[in-house]
Symmetry: C2
Subunit: 381 residues, 2 copies
Amino acid sequence: MQDVAIVGVGCTPVGEPWDKSLREIAVDSTWNALDDAGTDEVDGLVVGNMSSGNFIDQESLGSLIADYGGLGNISAFKVEGACGSAGAAFKAGVMAVASGYHDVVCVTGVEKMTDVVGNSATKILANACDREYEAIHGVTFVGLNAMIMKRYMHDYKVTREQISTFPVNSHKNGVKNPNAMFRREISLDTVLNSPMVADPLTVMDCAPICDGAASVILTTRERAREFTDTPVFIKGCSVKVDTIGVHDRATVTSMAATKAAAKDAFAQAKMEPKDIQTAELHDAFSIMGVIGLEDLGFVAAGKGAKFAADGEIAIGGKLPCCTMGGLKARGHPVGATGVYQIVELAKNIRGDGVIDVENGIAQNIGGTGSTVSVAILGRDD
Amino acid sequence: MQDVAIVGVGCTPVGEPWDKSLREIAVDSTWNALDDAGTDEVDGLVVGNMSSGNFIDQESLGSLIADYGGLGNISAFKVEGACGSAGAAFKAGVMAVASGYHDVVCVTGVEKMTDVVGNSATKILANACDREYEAIHGVTFVGLNAMIMKRYMHDYKVTREQISTFPVNSHKNGVKNPNAMFRREISLDTVLNSPMVADPLTVMDCAPICDGAASVILTTRERAREFTDTPVFIKGCSVKVDTIGVHDRATVTSMAATKAAAKDAFAQAKMEPKDIQTAELHDAFSIMGVIGLEDLGFVAAGKGAKFAADGEIAIGGKLPCCTMGGLKARGHPVGATGVYQIVELAKNIRGDGVIDVENGIAQNIGGTGSTVSVAILGRDD
């Protein structure tokens, strides 16, 4: 297995750019990353995207983005794993380089969710559930997460206040990120008193519907320093799946796919949770951030909310989390999110992020934990 | 780059199984291939699929199929490249093994197209076109292919009769394939006189709307003989893209993506077209089979239809094509087709197909040539 390095990163501001199409934001992001790597050489493109067929009636995104990006007759295809699409696309891109099939690969995650109106986006997102056993009963993605949060609060005697530390932390961090959708702090009271979406989740516990694209440029260890003095290496990279429906699981308060992907990624990296300096967690719903801390091995089961409430996930705490706003404040354009996380982690590691660390971990969840990718990035040994 | 071998193949009969869901046919196919490899060991699953989000309101197929197939917390995701999804998924699977990240990988292509009614399937398939510049004008996938065929006939002074040799050949071959959707011969008169879909394409020039799933099991050279005495090796494997819209191309009578993918695959295989003994061409429309012969380098531009009409694509001819019915008679469940081609080629090479050859090539087209994969398979050297 060849070592793989990130030598360029780029993204677009997350938001509701109704004047821009999917292809435009994807191409903007791709070229931001190529410019950052100082090259126009790329021989492979992997696109992370969940539902362009439903959101904008367009498939074939590999061809579309290579075409409108002027990348020529390169290799390109799309990878899908629900809201974990971009994390899975990242792994596909890493394998493309590690295999020797490709030399310089761009991974671009993109989603355009705001071109549909009414409850269409909710209906499309429900395609990440098990249609025949979950969505058919009318349960939405928010509904499933609400049930998980209720069960978690019951099992571990944890309060909403503690769990809601996550969105407060993400919003505080998002202020410093020019690409974040929401750049204002919120208080715990704001979270608790904002409109209820699905009890106990209020609107401020939930990441927004939005558009965005993020890209990374990957190459081999041998070539990395042709492009940059600060390559960031992939120490571990894993995608694992679980039952698609939550009703088929022994427990809903932890995610077997996160645990399996973390075990795999830590083994590849020859590291343990105590060695990790920052975490980009998939806080699409506040409860997911809490459970992520536990499943990745940073705290024991049931202790994630207290860890957060004690300030340990803040910048300056034991494990700064979601340092550029997380899914909640930066935004969660579903098929792009996993690459936004990698971009932010890479910046923190190479020296132009909001914190300065030697390594970090990213966790990207598809569905209610049916697909989870975990990546560990770090500086050269 | 590690050598990669196919050690198991499987598929479901192509047809309109309204009593079976996508997950059922995908799992049937996956286990057919695992049974064929004599194992239940698999640590990676790549799903080829174009439009499950639109056809059956279901994303997250990697998780869904691993879950209902009982494969556990393995790595899994979906790959999309329009009607070339399965060919692209095959390459992703090959890279997963070649990279050293995975040891035994299943690639399953699947599509369920017959659960929608009326013209919905046509509308969904149009998502493989450039929505903003082609589909918006009302042109369908069939319409685009009809325009390409008209131009080809004009440029090369070729008749419909010669081009329609392709469906006649595929139907003749489909008779012997128990998994083919259409197992009856048709005459040239039947093609010419069947109802017109988009002038000059009649219904018998076009592959059907249908359901199906096909799978292959991949592993390393080192492990291949643990599973089978007749491993089939991947000699070359390439995916290339072109402009998504046909209006942006210098010519519409040949496909730059096929040429680029063929050049790449032949270079990897250290082979030339004259070395190839059989071809699984993407004959979704009769004209695509003809152009495929030319772009892959088997005949000069404009000579494909005559080559076919002279009997050279028949079993016993210079280059037997689509020996198990091709897309036209076996059927074209879009996101599964590329793996059906690999399954059929592998059987012909390892000794349980309808012909006995040492090697062969498969070409899978997405859109109107916007994504093309080319794979060259062969026996061990």
